[in-house]
Structures are given as C-alpha cells and as structure tokens.
C-alpha cells in the first residue's frame, strides 16, 4: 500500500457552493498534489476564499465532492491549517504564546507549547521578540507570528487567504522569502489565494485562474517553470517571469473586465459625480 505514488492532497470534483439562491462557485475541478504549492488568482468577489472554506470543511459543497488524501471530506478537515487574511492574533498573549496557541488548544501545557514555539520564532526571524505583545509588533512581524502559528501545527495542507495583501511591497517581499524558505524546508501542500499575479508567479508551482462570479469556475492554469530555490528579489525582471505574467494576464484580464462590467451599476453614479465635479 505504501509503495503507491503519494495520494492527491486535495481533490475538488465538480464542486458547487450556493448561498441560498446565489451560486458562488460551480463546476470547480481542482487538484493539489502532496507538497505542491498552488496559487489561486481571480477577480475580486469570485469566490476564491470559498474554495479554502470548502477545503477546511467550514462550508459544505452543494454539489460535487471534496477529497482529502483520497477520502471524502465530511466535517472539519483535520489535515489543514488556515492562515486568515485579517489580523487574528490574541492581543493579550505574547508573540511566543500566540505561536504556541494551537498546541495549548490541543491540550499541551503552556510550558510545552512555549518550548515548541521558541524555535519557530527563530524560523520566522523573530528571535528576541518572544515576549512582545501584539501591539508592540509591526504589521510584517504580526504576519510572521500568524504564519508560525499556522505552520507549527504541521498541517499537511496549508491554506492562505491573501495573507500579505495589507503589507507594503518591501515587507511583502520579505514575507515571500520567509514563506518560501519554510516551505522549501518542509514541503506541504499549499493553497495560496491572492489577487497579485507577481506574488502568485514568484511563489507557486502552478497558478490557477478563476472566472468572475457569480457561478465562478476555473478558466485555466499555468505551470510555473521557474527553477527553485527562487530569489524573489531578482525574479520579477527575468524574461521567463514576464512571459508567464503575460500568459496569466491573457487568462485573467478578460475576467477582470467582466467583473467590472458586473459592477457597472456602481461605477456609473461615480462617473456622474466625477463629471459634476469637473463641470
């Protein structure tokens, strides 16, 4: 049994998700191999986060099937770790205790959790910040605490929902370096939601493009052939990177246009307002 090829970590088969009459996603097929880094891009409001909620088991599929390591998912997914987009650390705990929080929730003592968390502080470059409270950390440092908090639990499937979208460009690049280093050390399946194509190309093995919602589906994917380990600071200027970017934009650009058109109602009054001001 164990000699077989590693099983697919995540397999979505013809999945649909509905909220009442509203169909968020439909006919979504997505596989993520064990140890594969997949980025999902798409226009705003296309249901990218819905995919993560499906994989964690927070949302049931209205149609289709969610398979986790070959088994149909029912209830919460015990193999996944989820890093949210918004700030979700406990302000009344120190950075170290926030990193060890999952351990404490699993019933380990606080001392044991701290012992396990200490090397993780170093891994995300926060040695010396163990006893800081959250308000004493910068935005990038908080993200690193959140990253360590998710990864310390050793989930086989890591889910990240636009984790670095609120950061400035330089801090974001630092986050990319740290994330890639950690992932390189211990490869896990990773689904990374973003709206930033450069970010997706720099990090992932494969970029999946979703259509504009409602009833969003996957319109295509591009394999990222850039060699690893990657140097995120010089990557963006290479020809290969630019050609991948063009390929992806040819898929995504049309969908973004569509999503604008869906929002026409909101854009028109704005246009009027602009014209009034100008007149």
């Amino acid at each position: 049994m164990e000699m077989r090829a590693p099983p697919t970590a995540v397999e979505l088969k013809n999945v649909a998700v509905k909220f009442g009459n509203f169909t968020a996603i439909e006919n979504v097929n997505l596989t993520v191999e064990d140890g594969e880094f997949v980025a999902v891009v798409g226009p705003t409001g296309c249901g990218k986060s819905t995919i993560l909620n499906l994989v964690t088991g927070l949302l049931p599929a209205a149609a289709g099937e969610v398979g986790i390591f070959g088994k149909t998912l029912s209830g919460l997914n015990s193999e996944s770790g989820y890093m949210l987009q918004q700030e979700a650390l406990l302000p009344w705990k120190t950075a170290l205790d926030n990193v060890g929080l999952g351990m404490v929730f699993q019933g380990h003592s606080i001392a044991a959790a701290r012992e396990r968390a200490a090397p993780w502080m170093a891994k995300v470059g926060l040695k010396g910040f163990e006893h800081r409270y959250i308000h004493q950390l910068s935005g990038g440092q908080r993200k690193r605490v959140a990253m360590a908090q998710t990864l310390i639990m050793a989930p086989k499937i890591v889910l990240m929902d636009e984790p670095f979208s609120a950061l400035d460009v330089h801090t974001r690049r630092l986050m990319h370096r740290i994330l890639l280093k950690l992932w390189q050390e211990e490869r896990r399946s990773l689904i990374f939601i973003t709206h930033d194509l450069e970010e997706a190309i720099a990090l992932a093995d494969r970029v999946v493009v979703m259509s504009a919602g409602p009833a969003a589906r996957i319109v295509g994917e591009v394999k990222i052939t850039l060699p690893r380990p990657r140097d995120v600071s010089t990557l963006a200027t290479t020809d290969e990177f630019l050609s991948l970017y063009r390929q992806l934009w040819s898929l995504l650009g049309a969908e973004v246009e569509k999503s604008y058109r869906n929002q026409d109602v909101q854009i028109e009054p704005l246009q009027e307002a602009v014209e009034t001001v100008e007149a």
Binding site: L84, E87, V104, F105
Partner: protein, 263 residues
C-alpha cells in the same frame, strides 16, 4: 516629569487655598459651623475617634461587608454575563426580566433586606451584592459580545474547545470591561454596606454617621464622610494595581499622551 510636578503642586495649592478659606470663613463667622464645621474640628474629631479601639472595629465590619458584597456580586455578575453572552437564546428569554429588575431603584431594597435578613451582616451584604451584581453583569455581557469575530474564527480553526475558547478568548477579551466595572463596583459595594448600616445597624461607618446625625452633630457626619472617602480611595488604589497587572498587554494610552504633551 516637570509637568507632573507642576500638576501636583497646583493640586496641593488648590487644596490649601480651599481649606484655608473654609477654616478662615468658619472662624470669622462667615460660615455657620453648625452646618459646615471647620476643617480643624473635623480633624480633631477624627483624631478623637482613632484614639479608641472602637473605630477599628467599625471600619473592620464595614470592610468585611464591602469585601463580601464585592466578591459575591462580581462572581455572580460575571457568571450570568458569561452565560447570557454565550447563549443568545437564554439572553433573549431573560432580557425582559433583567430589564425589570434593573429598573428597580436598588437602594430601596434595603428595608426589604432588613426584614428578610435582620439587622446583622447579611442584610448589608445583600444590598451591596445587588448593587455590584448588575454592573458586573452588564459589563461582562458587553465584553463577551465584543469579542473580535476574526480572532474567534482563528481560534476555532486552531481547534479550540469550548472551554479553551472561554479561557483564552472570551474571558481575556471581556477582562477590560470586567476590570473597568471593578472600579465602579468597589464604590457601589461600599455604598451598599454603608447605606444598609445607616438604615439599621449597631456597628460600622454608616452607623457612626447615623448616630452623629441623630444628635445634630454635623462635625461627626463630616468626619464620617471624610473617613468614608479615604476608605474608597484606598480600595480604588488596590483595584488600580490589579488593573495594571492584569492588562499589561494593552497599549498604554498615557505613553502617547505624555509624548504628545511633551512637544
């Protein structure tokens, strides 16, 4: 540092001026000492009281009543607040009842409590407890309801059990509300104890004030009031320390304020 000294000096100056005017006014006959006894006579009365052992007994009884009302009121309020905060159904069911109970002017429950529990300690604690309970309850409820939903979602994603959520998320989140309620509660616990003593008792600060009032002794009433405020200020300082210890994780607003003021 300089600004702080300046504030202290001005405060002291203000106090001295007020007391001097009061004392001078009383001596020159501008103020009737029958209604407004001079500061010196109040101090003399206090010294007189403290020369006997009886005052310590009175203070001790009032303190005991205060502490008991405080502890029972706070724990009851926090428990009910947590329960209703975590169970929207129970909260909706009990909401009108709580509103009605809360609408009762609670000090007026004192006569009932004297009827039920007699003139001793129990009726005093009952009144203080009732006063403290509602403050603790409403603050806890508010604190639990204001838990950041993203933080809560994240804790759930980290597979926190219900007990773990309570211990690591709900209670600490509600802590700042609960602790701010402690400061109000200390005052109310004292109020409950003293008012109940005033209405019927044989010991305590409230009893001393009632006795002085009974013989038209304004000096005694004022001395009692001074003692009472000192008593509350001392308890308040204790709560202040507790607050600083429990809320170390909060950004200190004062730091920014002083930094701004220094410019």
């Amino acid at each position: 540092m300089k600004r702080k000294d300046k504030i202290r000096a001005t405060q002291l100056g203000l106090l001295v001026v007020l007391l001097t005017l009061w004392e001078g006014g009383a001596r020159l006959g501008w103020i009737d000492p029958f209604f407004f006894p001079s500061p010196m006579s109040i101090i003399r009365r206090l010294l007189e009281w403290f020369s006997s052992a009886q005052i310590w007994y009175d203070l001790g009884v009032t303190l005991l009543e205060t502490v008991l009302s405080f502890i029972f009121g706070i724990s009851g309020g926090i428990l009910l607040g947590l329960w209703l905060g975590l169970s929207p159904f129970a909260a909706s069911v009990l909401n009108p009842f709580i509103k009605v109970f809360n609408a009762i002017p609670r000090v007026l429950l004192a006569p009932i409590y004297v009827l039920w529990f007699g003139l001793g300690l129990a009726s005093k604690v009952a009144l203080g407890l009732t006063l403290v309970f509602f403050v603790a309850f409403f603050n806890t409820l508010q604190g639990v309801r204001e838990v950041n939903p993203v933080v809560l979602a994240n804790a759930r994603l980290l597979k926190a059990s219900r007990m773990a959520l309570l211990k690591h998320v709900y209670l600490p989140s509600a802590a700042s509300w609960i602790i701010s309620s402690l400061r109000v509660s200390v005052g109310l616990a004292v109020l409950g104890a003293v008012v109940a003593e005033y209405l019927g008792s044989s010991v305590g600060l409230g009893h001393m004030i009632a006795q002085a009032e009974g013989v038209m002794d304004a000096t005694g009433v004022f001395a009692g009031l001074v003692l009472l405020s000192a008593f509350v200020v001392a308890l308040d300082a204790l709560v202040d320390r507790l607050e600083k210890r429990l809320l170390v994780w909060r950004p200190r607003e004062n730091e920014e304020e002083t930094a701004l003021a220094a410019r």
